[in-house]
Symmetry: C2
Subunit: 294 residues, 2 copies
């Protein structure tokens, strides 16, 4: 039974409250109810789990990647009845509003800071942290990429890290952003005993960090002519959440990832909306005795 066919039957025959929960998850594919990527992905997982591996087809697995995850997929717009706005000439269609450039987003975790500071303004970099930021700045410069901008969280440790890196990247515009501050993005699975934020923290930080994701992680604008390289200096939780979200992995899994201070995590977003993680927590440019994860 194909994935598409199975969903139709769930929508059509379902009865009882619990079954409706499942049907609601399926409904996005059919357009019955709301619109969530997670719902489509999740139902696919249920159907996949119930199939022997040998019976899986490209058709069914292909449905699990949402190409319109950033709501910038022009072809998704076209299939919603807007095809008339686009020329029918295939040669001209290629230039008709579709993204052409690749966005490279280099996520930098701030370097080591004074954990015992009583407030953010006291949580400044340690001497080792300042040294780590120098290594990161040197590596980013050595990579020789044409950086367009460096955005950093407004927290002291991220600002200080960005300022040190900035010395190695003269001419790259430096911008601060409150959305990128550290926080509790979503309850981690599995939970941990040593870190238990209050519900209100997830409530506020979760929406704010998701807003940061939507602002910074997306495919290129159709007007963008050349590939871009952007640096974002922020925090471990924010970066780990971004990576899970961008790869369409369960965001609750973010705490299964660790990141060294000053490390580089590199996401690439293609014009098609494909996302690739090129490296995560790269800190090989630091001598081993300078590595920390605090």
């Amino acid at each position: 039974m194909s994935y598409r066919r199975t969903i139709k039957i769930v929508c059509g025959f379902a009865g009882g409250s619990a079954v409706l929960v499942v049907a609601a998850a399926a409904a996005e594919y059919q357009g019955c109810f709301g619109h969530t990527r997670a719902a489509r992905w999740s139902l696919f997982n249920v159907l996949r789990a119930a199939q022997p591996a040998g019976n899986r087809t490209v058709e069914s697995t292909g449905n699990a990647w949402d190409f319109n995850w950033d709501k910038r997929d022009l072809s998704a717009l076209l299939t919603n009845g807007k095809k008339e706005v686009v020329s029918e000439d295939p040669s001209s269609e290629q230039d008709n509003g579709k993204p052409k450039a690749t966005r490279n987003i280099l996520l930098i975790r701030h370097s080591q800071y004074n954990l015992s500071g009583s407030g953010d303004h006291e949580r400044i970099l340690t001497p080792l942290g300042r040294e780590q930021a120098e290594f990161t700045g040197q590596r980013l410069a050595a990579l020789g990429l044409k950086y367009d901008i460096m955005v950093h969280s407004t927290m002291a440790r991220a600002t200080e890290t960005a300022n040190i890196i900035s010395k190695y990247l003269p001419g790259v515009e430096l911008v601060s952003c409150d959305l990128l501050r550290e926080g509790a993005p979503i309850e981690p699975v599995p939970p941990v005993t040593h870190w238990k934020p209050d519900a209100v923290q997830y409530h506020e930080d979760g929406a704010r960090i998701e807003a940061a994701f939507r602002r910074y992680i997306h495919r290129a604008d159709p007007k963008q002519k050349e590939d871009s390289y952007e640096i974002i200096v922020c925090h471990a939780n924010v970066i780990r959440y971004f990576v899970c979200r961008a790869l369409q992995f369960p965001p609750e899994g973010w705490l299964r990832i660790g990141l060294n201070n000053g490390s580089i995590t590199w996401l690439t977003v293609r014009p098609s909306g494909r996302v690739a993680l090129r490296t995560l927590g790269d800190s090989g440019f630091m001598p081993p005795d300078k590595l920390t994860r605090t």
Copy 2:
């Protein structure tokens, strides 16, 4: 409605073939049918997707990580009616067969090789590939870890990479393994047009690479006294599949990850079965002009 309660209703009221598919996925939690981690994870995702974020509880999200993913979770054995074999004295129970050590597994992608070779024996490292392996060996040595063993795929490029690395790690036993050879682990989602293995390749490689995963990626044996550090020199597809499987992310997502030649990917498996990805594709120890991904 709690997660546990929802599943009971699905099991109890479901009717119709498609609903049975979903019920089958739910059944593992209830012990009705077979035993798959994917089923439990997947049903959780459906239920989660249908809940507003604010209503999620730690209890429900905690169900999505399978602590017995490697079938070495003693507490899972205990709850299956085998508690009588363990002393009731809590102080002695701590030493009673439970793993105590952490396994560190450093996955190395082979370095650059001659892509135009007609068979594996001709697909040997390029001069740059040999240089990359020197960098990797130097970095692994500089990390100063007490490596227990280095296992490598029997393919020429992995064997050659391991032999070069081995020069920097005198005394570390070198072992080869056929299970680690490159292949097609599972159909990638989203699919790509430039790489379309035949179904038979997935059929054979998929089971073999999964077998490699089960052999090498698991928590420590209870007899292991000290933390271990093992090096596995193998291939991009194998490493990416291992990472997705170990983190309990959808294995179909493996092609969303890229890995530089000679890069280090570091997985940690705690005695509890928790897994952490400490770095992925770390190649910062190579000068930028030596980086390749072929």
